[in-house]
């Protein structure tokens, strides 16, 4: 394979569930995790005689996203019916937008290994989600849960501007950060809020000629890791396939493949010949949407600082590295929390360390964002300030942080209760140090003697003092006194 020169061509279709209160065309709660078929009504169940009514908030969210993606906003759009039969689709058609999407022609800039690249956005449109089939046990039938039916779904389609699995992953991450910053979606991938479908093919150079492999679309990828793996797999598979069969874009057909995450392979689902005729036509139950420029301007005016720009600022102003800046900025609430805590007069360095350190660790353990830990900016700031002022040491800060998650006490109160306030009082520390030195004459001797053991012994004595003070001794003050007593 290594002897073949090729370019990878990838376009992405991304479906993102919008975080509106109600569904796309009815007033049912747009909420998941409830018992099956509890968030349903005649409209989303497709009962005879019902009519859809557009959710304006969903439209606004999509426009907000489109504006952040530098898209053109259509002045006039309509809704179309896309017909296919499937048990999770009670009307047997999906309301979507076909030839007049609500926005088109945008751009999103990504940064891969320090290189910036602009990915063109073909369109952003809205549609309704389908339900879920439950195949539980070998009972000879399946069950349908319609809670998700009619949930607002935003589809974003890129031009085929991505040229590696890594770029696709970075694009996905950038988009996820964007929609979170915009507050239009939680974009929690594990809960299926964001599903990715890459279209992949290769331009292979051989003997001065270019061969294009048939395009494959991998359906329904639920994580950025799966996206990256599926694309890498497809690249290798397409090369091997081309070498074996010689089939190209012109002689082959477009196919749809599924991703088997356990096996790490893509599996053929259907060839183009079997493709549906969706029989799109304008939905006569919905009126066309006429968008007023003033409304668009208002949304544009209220766009928050976008992740790309905020990341740069976080690196420049607060000294985060690229990765940490990206992690923090990915979630707008978390980035806001950081900045709010900072305005309370908190030392930047300490606060950065806390965010990258224990706060993100606790968030990750719970699979939520730092903001979702629910700790106020005030308490976060207090903790960082206590470290800055030398009231507690960094180790104690981590212990206090853990306690802060389970009670509402201020860090100061916790520190006192847990006896974690640093002892910086010289005479009190001297007493402890003298005791330690008296109990460890050998170590004291080694610490005085330059050589291999010296450094280790100083550390040992310091540790003994810390232990004896139950962690409350101010390590800086201790090493000063210790140094003086040993005579170094």
């Amino acid at each position: 394979m290594s002897d073949i020169a090729y370019k990878v061509i990838i376009g992405l279709e991304i479906h993102i569930q919008l975080a509106t209160e109600s569904k796309m065309f009815c007033s049912c709660p747009n909420h998941f995790g409830d018992p099956p078929n509890s968030n349903v009504c005649p409209v989303c169940m497709g009962s005879p005689g019902v009519l859809p009514v557009m959710n304006k908030k969903a439209y606004e969210y999509a426009v907000r996203t489109a504006l952040a993606l530098n898209c053109q906003i259509a002045k006039f759009t309509k809704w179309d019916r896309k017909s296919y039969y499937y048990p999770d689709l009670p009307k047997n058609y999906q309301i979507s937008q076909y030839d007049l999407p609500l926005s088109y022609d945008g751009l999103l800039e990504i940064s891969v290994n320090g290189e910036h690249k602009q990915i063109r956005i073909r369109r952003v449109h809205l549609e309704e989600d389908a339900g879920k089939l439950l195949h539980e046990g070998n009972v000879g039938f399946s069950q349908v849960d319609l809670n998700r039916t009619g949930a607002p779904l935003m589809e974003i389609v890129t031009e085929p501007d991505l040229s590696s699995a890594e770029e696709a992953r970075v694009f996905g991450a950038e988009l996820r950060a964007l929609v979170r910053t915009l507050g239009v979606s939680e974009a929690n991938m594990q809960e299926g809020h964001m599903r990715l479908e890459p279209n992949i093919n290769l331009a292979i150079q051989k003997d001065g000629k270019e061969y294009r492999t048939p395009i494959t679309e991998v359906k329904n990828l639920g994580s950025l890791r799966a996206l990256e793996r599926a694309i890498s797999y497809e690249i290798n598979r397409q090369i091997a396939d081309w070498q074996q069969t010689g089939i190209t874009l012109e002689t082959g057909t477009k196919s749809t493949r599924g991703w088997d995450d356990n096996q790490g392979v893509t599996v053929l689902q259907r060839e183009k010949e079997e493709a549906h005729d969706y029989r799109y036509f304008p939905d006569p139950d919905l009126v066309p949407v006429v968008v007023e420029q003033l409304w668009v301007d208002e949304i544009k005016k209220n766009l928050p600082e976008l992740p790309m720009i905020r990341r740069v600022r976080f690196r420049k102003d607060f000294g985060f590295n690229e990765k940490d800046a990206a992690t923090l900025v990915e979630d707008r609430e978390t980035a806001d929390l950081f900045e709010n805590a900072l305005t309370l007069g908190t030392p930047v360095k300490t606060l950065c360390n806390h965010f990258i350190g224990f706060w993100s660790m606790h968030a990750n353990q719970r699979n939520i964002t730092i903001a979702q830990l629910g700790i106020s900016a005030q308490r976060i700031a207090m903790l960082a300030k206590m470290v800055g002022e030398g009231k507690i040491n960094p180790t104690a800060a981590a212990v206090i942080a853990e306690k802060m998650l389970v009670c509402t006490d201020d860090p100061q109160v916790i520190a006192e209760r847990e006896k974690l306030i640093q002892v910086s009082d010289v005479s009190a520390l001297e007493t402890i140090i003298d005791e330690v030195l008296a109990a460890n004459p050998k170590a004291m001797e080694d610490a005085r003697t330059p050589g291999k053991k010296q450094q280790k012994s100083v550390g040992f004595l310091l540790g003994q003092v810390m232990q004896k003070s139950r962690g409350q001794a101010n390590p800086q003050v201790v090493s000063e006194i210790l140094g003086r007593k040993i005579g170094n």
Partner: protein
């Protein structure tokens, strides 16, 4: 049992017998007045119509569900409210029959289809809510061509409905049951739905009034869709005042129907119709009369009616609707395309009929639909599916939409010159049962004069204007400007004050 005795008792008293004679001839407007003033009780009125249903409907076949218990309970509630000095609303105690394609949570809604034979909706249609709020009593659900697809009610998957003027003839369709319910005085008023003439044709064939309101005037929420951009609910009644009475209640904006139109002022159609029609400009469509095949007796009756209008001071003007010839073709592309999509949901998966022994999940779909739908419904689903298929869409559906625009423009131009268009409802009176069943194209031509109003979205009213030599009713159609039902009702009422065709009752139901 108690209730049964009480009912017999109340119908058997001598006083009641006179009342019964009266009710048969009373209009809905008069009934409501008498109920409100205590001259009649809602219960007495309901008992009268239930008895009339019992007497006539075995032969007529107008009803799919007779809601006797429901109607009696509602009537007693209305009566106790009136006794307590309350005003239960503008339709206090008025029984109404409803076409069985409008959802009711208190009775099955079958659309006269095997596929929905036991279907009980989880909600009430907007019009049903409005009627109940106004004090009306739903007395039954009426027969129709399956999913409102047809012109004779012979396409019902349940039974045929007979014309009370000639039981060997059809009542027209698709709202045949609602037309017959009023014509046979089994209900004082009823609701139908009109996609291509489904209210006006039965009204004409049964000798009563029927209005298709402007598209957007009445919420379609809860009307089982056939052709969504054409469907509109409207009332049947004996005279124009009864139509106005019901329209007052069912018209108006409903946020659940995006195509219903918010108007600044709620219209009072009853108040508007007493104005005389002197000076009104009435258009006669040249193309309609150039069309061959209009029964001469119908032409004659229409000409007579025009004379009545002229005597009232209306001006008669010849007008052109040049795209009339394309209306039927255009309609059958638009309506079937929408129908093929609207009816996709009847699949045996979520509700309704499911084939008993499917081989796999695809078979659940294909066999449930093959066994559940009748021939005409299948014909239209297939035609509509074809119309929307890749490669045909532009040639058929898109072209039809363009033609539809031209037809609308025809009307816009005509209504710059006239206030109302006067036309026949149908080229023939009621035809014999079975006569056109095997010839769908001939059947489709029954709607040749009614279809254009649906394509243009304008209101159109059918009223009786005479009888043929063998005593079959003849219908006259008045078409108006968008949201100008008032002028239609005013014109009709003026005519009805000078004629008595609308007061005729078929011999067999007296």
């Amino acid at each position: 049992m108690d209730r049964f005795l009480k009912c017999r008792e109340c119908l058997q008293t001598k006083k009641m017998k006179n009342v019964i004679e009266d009710i048969l001839k009373m209009t809905a407007t008069e009934l409501v007045k008498d109920i409100k003033t205590g001259k009649l009780t809602a219960r007495q009125v309901v008992e009268f119509y239930l008895r009339q249903i019992e007497r006539c409907d075995r032969e007529m076949g107008a009803f799919i569900s007779i809601l006797d218990d429901h109607a009696r309970t509602d009537a007693d509630k209305i009566d106790s409210r009136i006794a307590a000095g309350e005003n239960p609303g503008p339709l206090s105690g008025l029984p109404i029959a409803i076409k069985d394609n409008m959802c009711t949570d208190f009775a099955p809604t079958t659309c006269a289809s095997k596929i929905l034979i036991d279907y009980r909706p989880p909600y009430n249609a907007h019009v049903v809510e409005q009627l109940q709020k106004a004090g009306a009593i739903v007395i039954g659900k009426t027969n129709l061509d399956e999913f409102a697809m047809g012109s004779s009610t012979e396409n019902s998957g349940i039974k045929i409905t007979r014309n009370p003027w000639a039981p060997d003839r059809v009542p027209g369709g698709s709202s045949g049951g609602s037309g017959v319910a009023v014509a046979a005085r089994m209900a004082p008023v009823s609701l139908g739905s009109d996609t291509g003439g489904s209210i006006r044709l039965p009204a004409a064939f049964c000798g009563i009034c029927g209005l298709k309101p402007t598209y957007g005037r009445v919420s379609r929420y809860g009307l089982v869709a056939y052709g969504s951009s054409l469907d509109q609910i409207g009332p049947f009644g004996c005279d124009a005042r009864d139509i106005a009475l019901v329209l007052n209640t069912i018209a108006g904006y409903d946020h659940r129907d995006s195509t219903s139109v918010p108007l600044e002022h709620a219209a009072d159609f009853t108040a508007a119709m007493e104005k005389p029609i002197a000076g009104l400009k009435i258009g006669i469509v040249k193309e309609y009369h150039a069309q061959g095949g209009i029964d001469p007796e119908i032409t004659q009756a229409i000409e007579q009616a025009i004379k009545v209008f002229e005597q009232s001071g209306a001006k008669i003007i010849d007008v052109d609707l040049p795209h009339t010839d394309y209306a039927v073709a255009c309609y059958y592309l638009v309506a079937t395309a929408e129908a093929s999509s609207n009816l996709a949901r009847y699949d045996g998966v979520h509700y309704g009929y499911r084939t008993p022994n499917p081989t796999d999940y695809i078979d659940v779909y294909s066999s449930s639909r093959a066994e559940g739908f009748g021939d005409e419904v299948k014909r239209r689903i297939m035609l509509g599916t074809y119309v929307l298929s890749a490669g045909y869409y532009d040639a058929y559906y898109l072209k039809a939409l363009k033609v539809r625009t031209l037809i609308k423009q025809d009307f816009d131009k005509v209504f710059e010159k006239v206030d109302v268009i006067c036309a026949p409802v149908a080229p023939t009176p009621a035809f014999k049962i079975g006569e056109k069943v095997n010839d769908p194209l001939t059947m489709y031509l029954s709607d040749i004069f009614t279809i254009s109003a649906n394509l243009a979205g304008i209101p159109a009213l059918a009223i009786p204007c005479g009888f043929t030599n063998n005593n079959l009713p003849i219908g006259l159609q008045l078409l108006g400007k968008h949201f100008d039902e008032e002028t239609l009702l005013r014109t009709a009422w003026d005519y009805q004050k000078k004629t008595d065709f609308h007061r005729q009752i078929p011999e067999m139901v007296k």
